[in-house]
Assembly symmetry: C2
Homo-oligomer: 208 residues x 2
């Protein structure tokens, strides 16, 4: 146990994510895995790959910058699409194990970096959002997990979009998907002169 | 193994849901559990209670009506708020175990009811949607799981709505929640002459 309840309660969520992802996705038939959450969005494999990227390049590296440099050194930009090339041929089961391993290492390092509430009040500088606290980084890490896991559910549901027949009218997870795809199509059309494939693919996912 | 791939692949998802729910929610600190997914929506406890109700009164009873009566007997209406009174004082851990137990019984019964693809083509009558197949019922059961689990993620995220600070601007799971609450407030105002508390509470969740 540490001196901060907020840290303990955040870790209680963060340590669940790889276990939940494994319970949901490990060994699931491929027929569930083929669709992205919205048109141009992410499949379950993309999401787990992105979570791996965030363990490597986002949360702990940024926490370390806050502790070491405070607001004098802005965070490095984070590549939200690093997984696309890196994980191209990696099986989902391997990605799930890799994510679990990295998350374990991250939480161990977090316990070194944050000892008390005063540590959580330390400030850093986000390149776009300005000053943020380590407490806000930690809350964002957890909500980012929840956001992307919810995205996995939408991708799994998408594979049954027509199979549910007339019940689709009652299933918000499918209706929201259509609404998001329609909105993306509109904004993609507006931006078609300038937006490349990578930016289009990013429309569906949360950024960091 | 049965004769139908669709049944096996649906069961592969359905049997995961209670395990995923337990992995996510069992023993999680109460500070994660206090908010509904949207204003007037459902907390994690509500969702698990509703999933219990659906095991008792929706999926298998409707499958049995299809197999026994075909389209001659419409499904019974399903009370989406049965959990509100029934589970008022039941701890979340007990609800999770109850749901897992009922889901196991449901899947065992499903294996009795569905032996081959011809069984999946059997038709029943939904009181509002008209003719539906057992295959569509099964797909809907799985997507209904995904829809409500995604709702749990939104409720957990809601507890950190202010804690994430300026990062909220990047977190779709929180932004969509605000948008849904704003839309509900508009429609609730429109319907204020006729809608009681129960109907208002239902605005956030998928129906069946």
């Amino acid at each position: 146990m540490t001196g901060t309840i907020f840290l303990d309660e955040s870790v209680a969520l963060l340590e669940r994510t790889p276990r939940v992802a494994r319970e949901l996705l490990s060994g699931i038939p491929d027929s569930w895995l083929g669709e992205p959450d919205t048109v141009g969005g992410w499949t379950a494999r993309d999401v787990i790959g992105h979570l791996i990227s965030a363990e490597l390049d986002d949360w702990i590296p940024r926490a370390e910058i806050i502790v070491r440099d405070g607001t004098s050194h802005p965070f490095e930009p984070f590549d939200r699409f690093a997984h696309v090339q890196r994980d191209r041929d990696v099986p989902l089961g391997t990605l799930l194990e890799r994510f679990a391993e990295l998350r374990g290492e991250s939480l161990s390092r977090l316990r070194d970096l944050v000892r008390d509430d005063a540590d959580l009040d330390r400030r850093g500088r986000h390149p776009e959002l300005g000053e943020v606290t380590l407490r806000e980084l930690l809350a964002t890490w957890a909500v980012h997990d929840l956001d992307h896991l919810a995205q996995v559910y939408a991708s799994l549901a998408a594979s049954q979009d027509t199979a549910v027949g007339p019940w689709k009218a009652y299933l918000g997870i499918l209706l929201r998907r259509d609404a998001a795809s329609a909105a993306d199509a509109t904004s993609a059309a507006d931006a078609s002169e300038t937006a490349g494939a990578v930016e289009t693919a990013g429309a569906a996912g949360p950024v960091d």
